[in-house]
Structure formats: C-alpha cells, structure tokens
C-alpha cells in the first residue's frame, strides 16, 4: 500500500516521520520547496539541510529511521491539473498544504475516487485540547477547524500533535 503525502512541511514531514517509525514500507512525497531556517522549529529537517530540496532532505531523514522504506519523490508543484495523476497509484493521500484553497482542491479532486484522504485544518494557536477529527465522505480532517496560520502564530507542539493524529489515522486505515 502506497501512502502519498501532498506537501512536506510541518504536517507532511512529521506524518512521514511517524510512518517511518511505524515501518511503513512505501510512500510518495511531493513538494517543490526548499528547507528554510524558519521551518526548523516544527518541521522534520536539520540545520545543515537549509537551502536543500525538502524531498531529498526528507528522504535522508526517513532513511535514517527506517532504511528499507521505499520513498518515491516528486519535486513538483501540485495543481488541479496534475493532482489526480500524481496520486493515482496511492491508496491513501495525506494533505499537508498551507493554503485552504489547495486543501479544498485536493479533497474535491480526489472525492470521487476510492482513495482515503487525511487532511489538516486548524493547526495554529497554543490550545491543544481543541484538536478534533471530522469525517467527510472518504476524508478524515484533523485540527481545530478555526485557527488560520495567517492570523494565529504556529505553536510547534500543536503542529506535531495534529500530524501525530493524522499518522494514527493512516496506520489505523492500513490495518483495515
């Protein structure tokens, strides 16, 4: 079973880390971005990877945990035109985009498929007890559903918490 990860920032990189620790054997990670210093407080990257591609950096970090993990990488911007083909060979897709319109796009484009989607909405702010799980059609959505990162500061433990819950849903679905 191949798990796709759309965007490997705070959510995607941490979900991937949990999957490596759980010895998930096959993932596809997709992002076009490079590691920045400002990412290091909450994303699964190191200081010496600043300026490097997130895909290659994450592959290195995941292999340091679980060397047998097969990691397919796409250094690509995900668009409405390519999202279906990028993830067509994945049974499950983890959504880790920054922008709400991309979250909506991924969910609408993959809604009519047999794929399971695990998405995030509301990962900012310091309150940890507001994190919930909602189920919509073939999608689980995790977060507090209100804290936009443009209006609330990101609190790294909350990002990690949402990512851990999302990874838990992926692992649970894989067992079904």
């Amino acid at each position: 079973m191949k798990i796709g990860i759309a965007g490997i920032g705070g959510i995607g990189s941490n979900v991937a880390r949990h999957l490596a620790q759980a010895k998930v054997s096959l993932v596809k990670i997709v992002d076009f971005d490079c590691v920045e210093t400002a990412n290091l407080n909450r994303q699964f990257y190191r200081t010496d990877q600043v300026g490097c591609k997130k895909t290659i950096s994450l592959e290195t970090n995941l292999h340091a945990i679980y060397p047998k993990m097969v990691i397919e990488m796409k250094d690509k911007k995900i668009t409405p035109e390519n999202v279906v083909s990028i993830f067509q060979d994945c049974s499950m897709v983890v959504e880790g985009f920054d922008h709400p319109h991309l979250k909506k796009m991924l969910m609408e484009k993959l809604a009519g498929t047999d794929k399971k989607i695990v998405s995030a909405s509301g990962i900012a702010g310091r309150d940890l007890d507001t994190v919930k799980i909602k189920k919509l059609a073939n999608c689980h959505i995790v977060g507090d559903f209100s804290s936009d990162q443009d209006k609330h500061a990101l609190f790294p433990p909350k990002v990690a918490l949402v990512a851990a819950v999302m990874a838990g849903i992926v692992l649970h679905q894989m067992e079904k």
């Binding site: 965007g7 920032g9 705070g10 959510i11 995607g12 959504e95 880790g96 985009f97 920054d98 922008h99 709400p100 319109h101 979250k103 909506k104 969910m107 609408e108 809604a111 009519g112 998405s119 995030a120 909405s121 509301g122 990962i123 900012a124 909602k134 919509l136 059609a137 073939n138 999608c139 959505i141 977060g143 559903f145 209100s146 804290s147 936009d148 990162q149 443009d150 990101l154 990002v159």
Partner: protein, 65 residues
Amino acid sequence: MKIRLNGRTIECRSSRLTGLVREMGLAPSSVVAEVNLEVVTQEKWESTWIKDGDEIELLSFVGGG
C-alpha cells in the same frame, strides 16, 4: 424547509447549494460541501437543489500545513 447542517437542524431559505454557502457567510474558495454523505464539487453547487431533510456538511478549511 428544514435541513441538517453540520449536525444541527436549521430552517433553510436557499434553494440551491450556492445560496446556502452564501447564506452561511462562507468563502466559497475554501469550502468543501458534502450532501447526504457525498462530496459535491464547487462547479455543481449551482445545479444542486436542496431538499427537505437533506444532511449537509459545509467545511471551511483554514490555512496551515
């Protein structure tokens, strides 16, 4: 007519999904709509008529990932 919206029974004035999203004051660009357990994509909102007893979820995504 009465519908269930996000788990609550409400009196709905809109006849179509586009109108309901507007009635709720939501930004269409970040909303995903589910009607009776199926996701209805935005291009179909205008042609989706709301019926009495429909179960509708409107999820407004917020940024952060």
